[in-house]
């Protein structure tokens, strides 16, 4: 990215993010921001380690349930509730990751999907998750005992802060020596191993980080919408985050964010259309896979920032 164009785009985006609650319906933007963070967390795994997880809803929804329970039943303040949700997601991620990284490629996708389905059954059957109803009427509370999150603007800037923190962690991880190693593992795992890197450890660490951030997104979403529901842990949510990342551009910094906003906007407009939303999402999947594998950001960003040569599309590593 040429420096000056990149700077201008960054300033424009920051201004838009700060002004958004005055321009759009705040809850809509907040929900989109949570899903954008979720997609960024997911893309850390797909775009940089080359692992397609089809079970990320377990971390997103699992954290939402934990936060809902902590805040509503145990009376945690919101900041602690979110920390608890993200920590639970990280713990769950370390177990799932420990199991799933034993296989690669499509097996990895099937394993994560199956493990996440266990969480979905748990959420349906456990005595404290509210079954079909989920956990409703979760109080937003006072942040640090000072700021009343029931005020829409306060909630919005809190969500924005959570998003920026999560996004910064992803960027920092990707642009660190750790990020270089996981990319090396994606490109050529045997070679990375022969250079002395313990691929399993790096993969597991990336998985746990991704799960924790997905949990951060789910926990924040739980406070925004004030409920945790079965749909949060459902496999359709896992599919949705794949779709967002694919549409926006796998392995691009802003791709998952753009994808999340595109998909959430579409769902918003088609809310009355029932199952047609599913059909359209399926069609977008098919079109993206067949003709648009670099995604919106992967195609547009090089034009906008005036970079001469487009980077090669980051493709997930062969299994």
């Amino acid at each position: 990215m040429s420096r000056r164009a990149g700077l201008w785009w960054s300033i424009a985006l920051i201004a838009l993010a700060l002004a958004a609650p005055f321009l759009f319906y705040p809850v809509f933007v907040m929900r989109a921001l949570c899903l954008a963070l979720f997609a960024c967390a997911f893309d850390l795994l797909l775009g940089y380690v080359g692992l397609l997880s089809f079970g990320h809803a377990a971390f997103y929804g699992g954290a939402a349930y934990v936060t809902a329970h902590c805040v509503k039943v145990w009376g945690f303040p919101p900041e602690l509730g979110i920390v608890a949700g993200a920590a639970a997601a990280a713990l769950l991620g370390s177990v799932f990751g420990w199991l799933a990284i034993r296989r690669q490629g499509i097996y990895f996708a099937m394993i994560t999907l199956a493990l996440a389905q266990m969480v979905a059954f748990f959420a349906l059957q456990a005595p404290f998750t509210g079954g079909e109803d989920g956990i409703q009427a979760v109080p937003r509370g006072r942040l640090l005992g000072l700021i009343d999150l029931n005020h829409p603007l306060a909630m919005y800037y809190f969500v924005l802060a959570m998003f920026v923190v999560g996004f910064a962690i992803v960027r920092r991880a990707v642009n660190s020596p750790f990020g270089q190693v996981i990319t090396a593992i994606r490109e050529n795992e045997p070679r990375a191993v022969s250079l002395g890197y313990r691929a399993e450890r790096y993969k597991l660490l990336a998985f746990v980080l991704s799960a924790a951030l997905a949990g951060l997104a789910g926990a924040t979403k739980c406070l925004v919408l004030q409920f945790a529901a079965l749909s949060d842990v459902d496999w359709t949510t896992s599919g949705e985050v794949v779709l967002m990342t694919l549409v926006g551009g796998v392995g691009t910094p802003l791709g998952p964010v753009v994808g999340a906003f595109v998909i959430v906007t579409m769902e918003n407009y088609l809310a009355q259309a029932g199952s047609w939303v599913t059909v359209i999402e399926g069609l977008i999947f098919i079109v993206c896979v067949l003709t648009f594998r670099r995604g919106i950001v992967g195609v547009i960003a090089p034009c906008l920032t005036g970079r001469a040569a487009a980077p090669p599309a980051p493709e997930p590593s062969p299994p």
């Binding site: 296989r103 499509i106 999907l113 047609w276 059909v279 399926g282 067949l290």
Partner: protein, 298 residues
């Protein structure tokens, strides 16, 4: 000796009834994972639309009966061919374009297909199930002394076992199967011998899809015909495939039936875990033998 173990032994008929339910589920797991394994062998694609195609098979039987009054027995033949034809079109129009790309794209494409198919059916028929009656010849049941066996359920187990073994025979013991296995090992070489490998690939995908549709027809009188029936079963079948490993046809059949039985037993002794037992077993198998019980090491 096991007085510390508080497991209530259920009465024998209840136990056998649950074992039968397990065998029925196992039949569907076996048929579906068999189809998945065949498709994966040649196309290197995990067919995420497999559940949707199973659902299409059930709906095809329902359409035949409801629209034209065509009964169960013809449907058992027509539905696999009809849905298999749809599969062939999908392979020709869509999957073929993914040649040379990462296998994950095949998974994503078929996932999109599953969403489209299931969304369309749900838009038209809602989420509640449609009833499909058991054919007259298979109504009723037999008292075996130790349990009551509904004839239709017995038929499903016997028929799907026959289909599974026939498929195994075709693949392992016939010339066509030899070609298929050769193309799995080295497609380029087989093509050099003058075999039309692209056509073989198309037909293989069609056959795998037809197996799913056949399972759907068999399932129609047992479960309700519902747009969601495929989505519910496919994730379990994925776990079955991970447990069995996809290297072996016989492995897919054996693990399908075995896991159905284990699930049935869990329903008797510890019903709370019956939904998740297969996933737990998957986790254990991954710890002990990551390539799957019958799989070749990666």
């Amino acid at each position: 000796m096991f007085s510390w173990l508080h497991i209530a032994m259920p009465p024998a008929p209840a136990l056998f009834a649950q074992l039968l339910v397990g065998l029925i589920n196992g039949s569907f797991y076996a048929l579906l994972s068999l189809g998945l394994a065949i498709i994966f062998g040649l196309l290197n694609i995990i067919n995420f639309a497999h559940g949707a195609q199973y659902m299409m098979g059930a709906f095809c039987a329902w359409f035949l009966l409801d629209w034209w009054g065509i009964g169960y027995w013809p449907a058992l033949v027509i539905a696999p061919f009809a849905v298999g034809a749809v599969g062939i079109a999908i392979e020709r129009l869509l999957l073929r374009r993914l040649a040379g790309l990462d296998h994950l794209y095949g998974l994503l494409l078929t996932f999109g297909l599953a969403l489209v198919i299931e969304g369309l059916f749900r838009q038209r028929y809602g989420s509640s199930g449609l009833p499909y009656t058991i054919p007259a010849e298979l109504i009723g049941g037999k008292n075996l002394g130790f349990m009551f066996l509904p004839v239709y359920r017995g038929w499903v187990v016997v028929f799907s076992l026959t289909v599974c073994l026939a498929t195994w025979f075709v693949i392992e013991r016939t010339r066509l199967g030899a070609l298929l296995r050769a193309a799995t090992e080295n497609a380029t070489l087989v093509q050099a011998f003058g075999i039309d490998v692209p056509r073989l690939v198309t037909l293989t995908y069609g056959a795998g899809v037809a197996l799913a549709a056949l399972a759907g027809v068999l399932a129609a009188p047992i479960y309700q015909v519902s747009p969601l029936m495929g989505a519910n079963i496919i994730i379990v079948v994925f776990a079955v495939v991970v447990i069995g490993g996809m290297g072996s046809i016989l492995g897919a059949i054996v693990s399908g039936f075995a896991l159905g039985l284990i699930e049935g037993l869990t329903k008797v002794f510890y019903p709370e875990a019956s939904n998740t037992i297969i996933f737990v077993i998957m986790a254990l198998v991954l710890l002990v033998k990551p390539a799957g019980l019958f799989g070749r090491a990666a």
